[in-house]
Amino acid sequence: MPYDLAALAMLCLPFLASVVVLMVRGRQWATWLMIATAAACLLLAVGIYPAMDGGHALRHVVHWVPSLGLDLVLRVDGFSWLFLMLICGIGLLVGVYARYYMPPDDPLNRFCALLLAFMGSMLGIVMSGNVIQLVFFWELTSIFSFLLIGYWNQGASAREGARMALIVTAGGGLCLFAGMMLLGHIAGSYDLDVILAAGEQVRADALYTPMLVLVLLGALTKSAQFPFHFWLPQAMSAPTPVSAFLHSATMVKAGVFLLLRFWPVLSGTDAWFWLVGGAGLLTLLLGATAAVFQQDLKAVLAYSTISHLGLITMLIGLGSTLGAVAAIFHIVNHATFKASLFMAAGAVDHETGTRDLRRLGGLRHVMPITATLAVIASAAMAGVPLLNGFLSKEMFFAVALTTHRGPAVDMAAAAIAVLASAFSVVYSLRFALGVFFGPARDDYPRQPHEPPRWMRLPIGLLALACVLVGMLPARVIGPPLRAAAYSVLGEATPAFSLAVWHGLTPPLLMSAIALVAGCVVYVVLRGYFAGCETLPLLGRFSGRRIFEWMLTLLTATLPAALEGLFPSRRLQPQLLLIVLAASLAAGMAMWGSSLPLSLHGSGVDPAFALLWLLGGACAIGAATQAKFHRLAALLLTGGAGLVSCISFVWLSAPDLAATQLLVEVVTAIVILLGLRWLPKRISGMAPDSRRARLRRRRDMVIAAGVGLGLATLAYAAMLHPVADSISHFFLERAYTEGGGHNVVNVILVDFRGFDTLGEISVLAIVALTVFALLRRFRPAIESVDAPAQQRLQAAFEASDNGTASVVADYLRIPGLIVQLMAPVIVLFGLHLFLRGHDLPGGGFAAGITVSVALVLLYMARGARWVEVRLRVAPLRWIGAGLLLAVSTGLGSLAFGYPFLTSHSRHAYIPLLGELPLATAMLFDLGVFFVVVGATSLMLVALAHQSLRRPRVLGEPVVDAEGDR
């Protein structure tokens, strides 16, 4: 159990710390917190090692959605433990290094937070015991690496490199997601242990190949394997500590981690051998060759990383168990020497101000310690005996000699292995000799010194690790390596010997050839390499260019072509298309079905028919009047709305009728307030063109078709016998569980409370949008003046020496009435609210009623009058309402019930009598607040438009509303 907790803590700690780091002030705190977190994780990782004893895997399950088989499963075995150590250990060293490397004027909070979050995501990947969880953390690493690579986001190359890395790796992650879904489907579970045990079944499945391709797309993009290798050199625009972390122990290793993790399940087939082995081999060769021709220190390291990852991938792809062991071993070795090399390159850059190999040289005179450490690390990279790189490379040669695919493949693999190793010797020499040896130079942009001690320490520790592993392999790395290999390979783990001297074996001979050939090539072609800008021949086919071309194709060329396919960017034709498409879809759905169009519905009530005769006339009237007589159209629309209110009452839905009636009122007011700003349109000003008449006729046909179709559909739906719906459930439980008699209200605030929460959020957002849009709105000049009637009256009064005072007393009596009525209306709103749970009413209706009172005051008395006397803060109402609704919902969590569970009780309150008091009522109160706030915010914002002055060119904008 303590081990479980330690694992859980290790996963949570970096994320928590990354949030905290954002809040602390200053570079000191941020970096110390980062270093402390990494150190704590490292200690925890060391501490859980005993749990892995005897090939056991640590497993901790946190149930999340058990019904869907989704749990948070932490699983640590020997293999993941090795990775935990790498991630935490190198993370710690990078943290220490970054503290001294990063420019002193950078507060580093963001940097530390991102680095920690990235570290947490990596830990998440290696500790995942559920494949979906693994994909989740996988994508998190893509996102955080994007942010880290683009950390210096003022530079275009950083942004582009980050974007490319994100697109390639996150795209691969999506493929991986699909692949994992397939894998889970084949194995019957998303649990890693179940999948690992189902190897035979998976390989025999018909979906094996597509699944394998998808999973490989994920792994190979992440590990920068050919043909996806191009993102890695671009990512070198990241700060060097980030490169040291991402490209040695973490990000790129996630891909090979995945391949090894699923090695028992996926490997052993021809497809695996050719795809993985082939990609690895090509990458190994390409990376090694390209690295030789680079001039930028970090680019040399980037391409060498690609080539070493290719080596690991190839080892995994060959399919032999010894290959897997060698791959794990080389992962560790590569992480140690590559991290130290990146840090050394960073130190050189930091001290001299340049990373160009042609401008560097002779640095051993000024920074001897760094030079020694870097030379050790690059010797490890070259595979010099007595260093760790030599051991894993020898294993690699041994594996390459026996691919079990026939002598031709063996020969080719061995030859390519030697060739690539020779190249790695060449670039290691270029790095070590080119930078630190040769004559001392004094033309650096900065005067170089030995870097600070704390910057050298991480490099030194890693170099020390290289030496220790190289000299005492069995003692230092033996047990954990064996545990890691055992947890991947199980009983099939081969016997392997970790010794410096195996006698005169073919692999030793191959090592010797590679070393000698590398040295010879370096000495002979040194001048030639220095003169090259890029890789000869192949440099023209850069993956980067192809990527950019495809990106342009996908984001610019294709969309433009697609847009061209559609007839218009204008709204009108688009609306036409939408209407036609919707009618077509509905028509197709109705086509085959036999609609019960018999006339045996319930009898027609003549009054109801008459009512709708009126309603229909109103609707058609509104349609004809909307162009030239807007007010009439608005009133007629209101008529149609009123008729539908009456229908609701008629058809036993008083709640709907009440709400619709109130909404009707507010909608009418809102539109009335807007009417004033529209341009005048006078009938008969311009004769209709022939085209316009044709258009109208066409639209008339479409409208008639839609109307007829909808009428038929509605008729059929009404006569269709209703199947047993969920309504019975609501009716039965409304009182017993919701504590209310008004079932509709109980549904809204209790059973479907979550929907209502969404709905009031929409309302709040709309209100805020309206408010925001209107703040920038400036009316057209011609509609700024007071209406013509008012102007005429004012002119008349002015000429009449003030005997008449119509303008001043405008709406005086209605104003007085409204002023007296307003409290009554508010009271009525409260009444609607209180009775809502048992009788028609509720938060919506009540909220709208209260805002109607407010708006009537605005209309009758004017905005200024109201605002002097009444302080309305709609934003606070909205905020309070949302808070209340959410906290009521959250309150149930405190009692162990799901979100928004309500509790109800009828209580007796003096004077008021027995009242239904459900927590749902508090929720409804939240709804009420939001509706009041949102509605009045919109109405007030609209009403305020009349108070604004027009914008005159050259004058500053005067906002009569002020910045409230």
Binding site: L571, L575, V579, L599, S602, V604, F608, A609, W612, G616, A619, A622, A623, K627, L634, A640, S647, L651, S652, P654, D655, T659, Q660, V663, V666, T667, G674, L675, L678, P679, I702, A703, G707, L708, L710, A711, A714, Y715, A717, M718, L719, S727, H728, F730, L731, Y735, H741, V743, V744, I747, L748, A767, L773, L774, F777, R778, P779, P840, F844, L942
Partner: protein, 112 residues
Amino acid sequence: MEAVLALAIGVLAASGVWLLLRPRTFQVIIGLTLISYAVNLFIFCIGGLRTGADPVLRSGADITQYADPLPQALVLTAIVISFATTALFLVVLLASRGLTGNDHVDGKDGTP
């Protein structure tokens, strides 16, 4: 009853769609309002029509006697949301009027 309501829905929808296809913003907003009436009634009537049914629970009554609460709850939500859309559209309309100087839906006068 069913036939009357079906025809009513048809007429509301037809008027609404016709207005929706008109070029002036005000016509479109009225059209949307009419369409929302039609759609609300349509959703409401899916559950079948009941006249004189009890909307509120009484003690001791059979649950088959009540009006169907589900479409009502759905429509209640729809009413509020359509109010919000109308308000939003109105403001967009005003903003576009201020920006383009006319009330054509595409901001360009001249087309009918």
